[in-house]
């Protein structure tokens, strides 16, 4: 299949995005330049917490080439960075100012901005700025007692609560209670391209432009217009190539506001490109949570109740997402299992670290780890197998759609379709689970620390409510699909082109897909929350269908045939009722629909149509991950040998790209499971600021990954039946690796924290060895 030229849905065709990217013609933020541009460099706080006394910019201003230096007093009229959803009264006081006013709250916080003719000069000048701070004691542990954020405001702005049933009564009735204290480390998306923003003001049209946009250009446009007091018509965002998104790119940060405001006030384009150290301390962090969770089960291991108290380490401020990550954690924690009674209290805590927000599979990477740890613990306590305990708790196919009295991403949770047990069985068969168990057991006997892990999970995708697209067939026969989607490298253009090509029966390579341009289409959902394919592809499908109908209508007139006797084959309308040589191409039809064309009749000009897709609920793909790991007892290093990802996608538009998402996501997730952590010392100083101390997985850490992609449960939420793949690879990595490492350790110890570093494992193994026990004896 791979490389085949079958045009439409279901074909693993190569990507239309690739040629410019392999020839060096990509246009990433750093590649965008405008004549007379200035370069911005930020001075950042080197204290985690303190009172800002003064910022001395005298020496910096004296350097040739420096045009301006701004501190908070130069932009006093600007509001703090707002929430994308609009005002949230209760949280308003915790928003980040564009530049520090009176108190620094994390290392990396922007204190001053230098604007200079040359980026090297801007950096020279920034080094000469003297920031005077009286240090205050920092908060570095979100689970300690809350303190004062500012006068009268606590470092716990809110507690995210969800739940249903009678939890207390359920625990009284439970046969067994299992309690765990579990932590997920602070890590994040860390795309290979750092952030970048280029602001430009076109005074001739009174239009402000932000280049280097990503993720949600249309929604960000609304946020920026609101913050800057501009009309929507007076601001546009432009997305070029984006070097990885993963949740952190395309948020609105202080730097985005600064380049826009400076472009207007200094009258020149402003370019800012983040360096890697800045990225590690200034772009959104994510994940850090500590869960104190308790489960009550019956004697067969069926969940009766879960009571969870967790501490979400938000960092220094609440950014554009508000409390979304913690809310999602609450709403998605139960996963694929029945859970009659549930209570969760998420303590949303501010600390003196880099602010946190979404990272690919937010709230699920964390809670899949927590819930699946719990399932393993229940199995161990009751002496039943880890597979069996899961099987007994699964929601059945016949119960779909399954409504949960919970909310995720502001959407009532209704699991739309799925046969979880079928996928479990398929996964076990595919990896030969029983053989793996035997193999692991015999290797253990021979002294190896080898383990087998399993995790089940439900993902979410296709957040609505609505998206639109416009399909335009030009008189050349080329087709343009104008979308409000966005691309961060997932293959968006190809997927949309395939859907359009399917409907119009044309070569997908003739389709140009426009995205990330607020000046081309009024609305757009962008690309986040695994929604781009689900929402925009369905909208494209509707628009392309309208174009098809219009083309057939014109062709019927020209060919003197009934519409129902016409079809489009290879971009030409043909008759299906009688053998006929007569054909008419889409290009010719577009020609007949020119404004001045006499054959147009009373139809609107152009072979063009707009389509909208609206959905009530998200759609829920699901998966099973299985892993075999081997611990080096000498170093404590975990080697992941083998992985299976079984995933039901509903319907795959391009299986090759889906596989790419799943494998890529899994390997990224391995980082947070084994290597990556933003560490801080007790003074709140970040210790992981380069790629030498924050370790991304390399080619050497990649296991043999098998993908079982199934289409057993098409979504009932959209006509194409599709569900998303973007976050399905990463969602359960922490869970499955912990399960496997735990299994390898046997009773030596259990895994309660991510990442599972060699230091921690080595300490466990050494302690065990000092006690002179073998695994079997202990």
């Amino acid at each position: 299949m791979i490389g085949s030229r079958k045009p439409g849905i279901g074909a693993s065709v190569t990507r239309i995005e690739d040629r410019p990217l392999v020839t060096g013609h990509g246009r990433f933020a750093g590649d965008v330049s405008f004549p007379r541009q200035l370069h911005m460099r930020l001075v950042r706080s080197s204290h985690a917490h303190g009172k800002l006394n003064s910022v001395d910019v005298t020496d910096a201003m004296s350097i040739r080439g420096v045009v301006a230096v701004w501190t908070a007093k130069d932009i006093e009229d600007l509001p703090p960075i707002d929430f994308r959803e609009g005002a949230i009264e209760k949280l308003a006081a915790f928003r980040q100012p564009v530049l520090v006013k009176s108190r620094v709250r994390y290392v990396g916080e922007p204190v001053a901005a230098v604007f200079a003719e040359d980026p090297y000069v801007a950096e020279d000048a920034a080094d000469l700025i003297v920031v005077n701070v009286d240090e205050l004691p920092p908060v570095v542990d979100a689970a300690e007692a809350a303190t004062e954020f500012t006068l009268g405001l606590s470092t716990e702005p809110t507690v995210c609560r969800q739940g249903y049933g009678d939890v207390e009564a359920a625990f009284r009735a439970a046969e067994l209670t299992v309690e765990l204290d579990l932590s997920i480390g602070r890590h994040s998306g860390v795309p290979l391209e750092t952030r970048g923003a280029i602001g430009r003001y076109d005074a001739s049209k009174d239009v402000l432009e932000l280049h280097g946009a990503a993720k949600v250009p249309h929604r960000n446009r609304e946020l920026l217009a609101r913050m800057l007091g501009r009309s929507l018509a007076g601001i546009h965002l432009f997305e070029g190539h984006v070097g990885g998104g993963f949740g952190v790119r395309g948020e609105i940060y202080p730097e985005d506001i600064l380049v826009l405001v400076a472009a207007m006030r200094l009258g020149r384009p402003i370019k800012w490109i983040e360096d890697r150290r800045e990225h590690m301390i200034a772009a959104n962090h994510s994940r850090q949570q500590r869960h104190k969770i308790r489960a009550g089960v019956d004697r067969e291991g069926r969940l009766i109740a879960i009571d969870n108290e967790f501490f979400h380490d938000q960092g220094a401020y609440i950014r554009t997402h508000g409390t979304r990550v913690a809310d999602t954690a609450c709403g998605m924690l139960p996963g694929p299992y029945h859970l009659p009674n549930y209570r969760v209290n998420g303590h949303f805590r501010l600390t003196n670290k880099t602010p946190a927000a979404t990272y690919r599979s937010p709230g699920r990477y964390e809670t899949n780890f927590v819930r699946e740890r719990l399932m393993d613990a229940i199995a161990a306590k009751l002496g039943i197998s880890r597979v069996e305990v899961r099987r007994r708790n699964l929601i059945g196919k016949g119960e779909m759609p399954f409504k949960r009295p919970l909310v995720a991403l502001g959407d009532d949770v209704v699991l739309d379709s799925g046969d979880y047990e079928q996928l479990l069985d398929k996964a076990l068969a595919r990896c030969r689970w029983e053989d793996l168990e035997r193999d692991v057991a015999s290797r253990r006997k021979a002294g190896e620390f080898v383990g087998l892990g399993i995790a089940m999970y439900v993902e979410k995708s296709g957040l609505g409510p609505t998206d639109g697209a416009r399909v335009n067939v030009h008189t050349s026969g080329d087709v343009e699909v104008i979308t409000g989607g966005a691309s961060m490298g997932q293959g968006f253009e190809t997927v949309i082109a395939q859907v359009c090509a399917e409907k119009l029966s044309i070569d997908y390579r003739k389709v140009r897909v426009v995205h990330g341009r607020t000046d081309r289409i009024e609305y757009g959902v962008g690309a986040h929350a695994t929604r781009a394919t689900v929402m925009t592809a369905n909208a494209t499908f509707v628009a392309a269908d309208k174009v098809r109908m219009k083309a057939l209508d014109v062709a019927a007139q020209l060919m003197q045939a009934e519409v129902q006797h016409l079809d489009i084959i290879d971009g030409n309308v043909v008759r299906t009722d009688i053998p006929s040589e007569a054909t008419i191409s889409l290009a010719e039809i577009a020609h007949h629909l020119r404004p001045a064309s006499p054959t147009r009749g009373d139809r609107d000009p152009g072979l063009v149509a707009e389509g909208w897709f609206t959905t009530d609920h998200m759609t829920y793909p699901y998966g099973v991950q299985i892993a075999v790991v081997n611990i080096d007892s000498g170093t404590g290093q975990v080697h992941v040998e083998k992985v299976l990802i079984a995933y039901d996608i509903g319907r795959a538009i391009n299986p090759m790209l889906v596989r790419g998402q799943l494998v890529g996501g899994f390997v990224q997730g391995l980082g947070g499971a084994l290597f990556e952590e933003f560490q801080y010392d007790e003074r709140g100083q970040p210790l992981s600021v380069t790629f030498a101390d924050y370790l991304l997985p390399t080619v050497q850490e990649v296991p043999d990954i098998d993908i079982l992609l199934t289409e057993d449960a098409p979504s009932t939420c959209n006509p194409l039946g599709i569900k998303g793949a973007g976050e399905g690879g990463i969602a359960a990595v922490g869970a499955v690796i912990a399960s496997a490492v735990d299994d390898a350790l046997g009773s030596i110890g259990s895994i309660t924290q991510l990442p599972i570093t060699p230091q921690k494992l080595k300490a466990m193994l050494d302690k065990h060895n000092r006690n002179g026990m073998t695994r079997e004896q202990s």
């Binding site: 060096g24 290979l192 070097g243 390399t698 990649v702």
Partner: protein, 160 residues
């Protein structure tokens, strides 16, 4: 600001005469002064490898050397891989094997792989993986990069 000097760089067999500060890195000069923006900067401390170019055939991190140090050498960047419209087998193989997603690390991987295979067409597979582990990718999980490089290696050997 330090004094600017005039230097010549030979990039993809074309000579660029540029006036720069001596402290400017090769990567910045290639991108900003020579306009060849296919070479990317991912970390500027020599770890990620996105800025890999070939200097006299050797893969080099262009963020770690100054442009003035490369005046006497032949520099090759991703823009020089194809011959006219025809893509290099490594570029073709990356497309065919879906070895890129966002494409930011891709030029670095292409130059690294081409550099090593031109010098050592019969490199042993374990060693090839060792070499490829010197660059970072955050999207693909590397599986398809490895597949693409292996396939291109076979093709490059056959073309010899």
């Amino acid at each position: 600001m330090t004094e600017r000097i005039e230097i010549c760089l030979d990039i993809n067999s074309k000579v660029y005469r540029v006036t720069i500060e001596p402290r400017k890195t090769l990567a910045d000069v290639i991108r900003e002064d020579c306009g060849q923006t296919g070479t990317h900067l991912g970390c500027e401390h020599g770890v990620c490898g996105a800025c890999t170019v070939l200097i006299d055939g050797e893969p080099v991190r262009s963020c770690l050397i100054f442009a003035v140090q490369a005046q006497k050498n032949k520099i090759r960047t991703v823009e020089g891989l194809q011959s006219e419209e025809k893509l290099h087998p490594m570029q073709e193989s990356f497309i065919r094997n879906h070895a890129l997603q966002c494409g930011f690390c891709t030029p670095g991987f292409l130059m690294l792989a081409v550099g090593i295979l031109e010098k050592r067409p019969n490199i042993e597979d374990g060693e090839l993986l060792e070499v490829l582990s010197s660059n970072l990718c955050r999207c693909t999980g590397y599986e398809n990069i490895v597949k693409a490089v292996r396939a291109a290696a076979t093709e490059m050997r056959q073309r010899k």
